[in-house]
Amino acid sequence: MDFSLWIRGLTALIQPSTIGWLILSSVIGYITGALPGMGAALTISLLIPITYYLDPAVALIIMGTIFTICVYGGSLSAILLNVPGTAGSAATCMDGYMMAKNGQAKTALGISTGASFIGSIGSTILLVVGAQVLLKPMLALGSSEYFWITVLGLTIIASLSDTGMVKGFIGGCIGLLLSFVGQELVTGTYRYTFGSLYLISGLELVAIIIGFFGVSEVIGMMVGKEISISKVNKLSGSVWEGMILPFKYLGATIKSFIIGFLVGVMPGVGYSISTWLAYNEVKRTSKHPEDFGKGSVEGVIAPEVSNNSTVGGSLLPTLLLGIPGSDTAAVILAGMIAHGIMPGPQLLSQRADLVYTFFIGLLVAGFFIIIMGLAVLPFAAKVTVMPLGIVAPIVTILCFAGALSINVSVNDVVVVVLTGILGYVMKKLDYPIVTVVLGFVLGPIMEENMNRAMLAVGGSIKGLFVSPLSWIFIILVIASVGQSIYRQLKNKNKKEALV
């Protein structure tokens, strides 16, 4: 590592205008992240034309900062209102919102701040110090490996189903069914579109998430007897206290970090999956798996560390190969090319000054997470003790406006309302609705990769088994299913013994 490059990068950064842009893009990223519907990809692509008039280094800093802070901002609405701002915060709802319900909103927000900080700073450092060695092995993963990884993801359903595995599977199947809507990639067949042009491109992930998490919660607020989100109607804990917790649960933090980073490097999958994989792994190895879903500290740490480390991971193939690791990375790639910055292995040697300014910008953005957190969160947490008569309409506005911001289409609002009602009914009947979302996220990736693996060998099921690497994941799937069955049997025996 060349220190003169760091110093040059730092001097490029310490210009009043650059710092100004850094602050501005942090604020923009935080707001658009917290608002459901507006993701980092949309925000950055709308800002790219403005960056034409700026120095390429500044443009890179703006894009990197928004990417980092947006993902963090998404957790604010996830924890306080059960409406994930981005797909990367959906898993945070599980325990973050439960903590808010228990009156620990400040602590939960603090955990998310500390965890996002670690995820973002850690992944940036890993980017700099030779994560390049990861590139080749990650590219060796092909369609059949992706297929088995998503199957492994689906086995999480078992561990998310506290109210019984059958109900969890039914939820997962509903999610898979919803994911089938639209034009199929290989044959071009229209599935469940009923002649509607809107349904050709399928249902929007953001709309599904807003509906199942946000709207179903609003209905619950209207019907229920609670007077505020916090059941105890007061706030305990503090942001600062929460920020330290990820350091206390270091095992959970490190595991989530590694999973998030590795999934980020893989093209085509992003934080909508890594957060769940991390959540599952931390729960599986936790000393208190029974607390998960009821407001577990580790349950907030896992998705919050992994979503930010996925951000860093997805930049690796983007910068060094020109292969975007996620949809937002794809937009950043377009922005880089628009500034004449050509990604590739030569980037580090030829445009080292730019790359190091970018890295330093990402590090500074990591510290902005803390600043934004301390400035905003203590006030934001008060939402959870406000009367529901005020909060419920605000959440409704957020949900509907979020749905509209996807495509400016009223159809998305209809989807949000319908899935919200379905989600509420399922919750009342004790179905874990999170399995629906998981099935919806994993369905298309699983199906497309199954098709690819089979087509590559001329349309035979053998394609799923020929690669030796895929057997690693097949064994992991078997082990995961086996463990769940074993646990269920053990629990059953325990209950019977108690009777």
Partner: protein, 344 residues
């Protein structure tokens, strides 16, 4: 129960508010002052007198969106009126297509659309509000784009001929950057038609994913977007064996075409403006002239060189209209080869 009604009433009010707001948003592209309509009836047209909306039928950040936002400031200068880019994605490009088909034909709403994708949309989708021929082609500003056949830099195949000959004796895996009825599907179908070679096709969701599969050794060659391919070639990771243009590209003149290597595979991508059906011809003419003026300006030429956009020379209204008609006639005959060469 009283609390429920109180909260419920608030919710309904808010819901109504949002629906009415969104209703305004939906119509804003089509609303128009009555006064200005009358002005065009006699003598010289007074156009444009207010901001113009260009509908992009795709998400922000994609190729058509980026190209439209690149020309936008220059077009704005030429017209002397603000130009607003509005994304209306969904259903391939059919949501934006239908929106513009139903927009008021007053010269204040246009669509930025790619050819031949817009023609494929017309030929393969039901329920469209207008036929392709009913739209009025204005002019085009991206004319140097096409489909490249890409292999790894260390691939044993140095020329297209090597590749095709090798594919005759062993089944090759060809990665596509899109699914059924995409332009990549068409390029493959044409290649398969002229060479008689069958490939094992592996469709990916985007050029980035296809490139990753190529680099990882999961496919032997890919069809990708031109910018992705040229970037990868410049970085020393990939080699472009052929491009599907009629003549060589002006941004990369050293890359041979399929045609000059003896394989008649020609599929070019253009991006141009289309006016809603029944837009007055004099208004379309003014817009076309201003677009060509903007796309010919020195500043725009420099800009596209910087961002490596495959813009090329603009097409005038006459050229663009004729090109669109010729392409429509060609693809109407050709589209059935897609059925002959399905992906799976």
């Amino acid at each position: 129960m009283k609390g429920f009604f109180k909260k419920g009433l608030l919710l309904i009010l808010v819901g109504l508010l949002i629906f009415s707001l969104s209703g305004c948003g939906q119509n804003s592209g089509a609303t128009n002052d009555k006064k200005e309509e009358n002005q065009s009836s006699e003598g010289a047209v007074n156009y444009p007198t207010k901001p113009i909306t260009i509908v992009v039928p795709y998400n922000p950040g994609g190729g058509v969106d980026t190209s439209t936002r690149t020309i936008q400031p220059f077009l704005q200068d030429a017209l002397g009126q603000p130009v607003v880019v509005e994304n209306r994605p969904g259903g391939g490009m059919s949501v934006g297509y239908n929106y513009v088909a139903g927009a008021k034909p007053d010269g204040y709403t246009f669509m930025a659309a790619p050819i031949p994708t817009m023609i494929f949309t017309d030929l393969t989708l039901p329920n469209l509000k207008a036929k392709f021929n009913e739209f009025k082609p204005v002019a085009s500003w991206v004319n140097d784009d096409c489909s490249p056949l890409v292999v790894r830099a260390d691939s044993p195949y140095k020329t297209l001929k090597d590749f095709v000959e090798a594919a005759k004796s062993k089944t090759m895996k060809l990665g596509l950057s899109g699914g059924a009825y995409s332009t990549d599907h068409m390029t493959y179908a044409m290649l398969s038609e002229v060479t008689g070679v069958k490939f094992n096709l592996v469709p990916y969701g985007s050029s980035g994913e296809a490139l990753a599969a190529l680099e990882g050794g999961h496919v032997d060659a890919i069809l990708a977007s031109l910018v992705t391919a040229i970037t990868a070639q410049d970085a020393g990771q990939a080699k472009i064996l052929a491009v599907s243009k009629n003549e060589r590209l002006s941004i990369a003149p050293d890359i041979p075409t399929f045609k000059e290597q003896g394989y008649d595979v020609v599929i070019e991508f253009h991006i141009g403006l289309f006016a809603p059906p029944n837009t007055p011809d004099d208004i379309v003419k003014i817009m076309a002239d201003k677009l060509v003026q903007a796309a010919s300006s020195e500043e725009f030429r420099n800009r596209v060189k910087e961002v490596k956009s495959p813009a090329g020379e603009p097409m005038t209204q006459e050229e663009w209209s004729k090109y669109c008609q010729d392409e429509y006639n060609r693809w109407k005959e050709m589209v059935n080869i897609l059925e002959k060469h399905p992906l799976g």
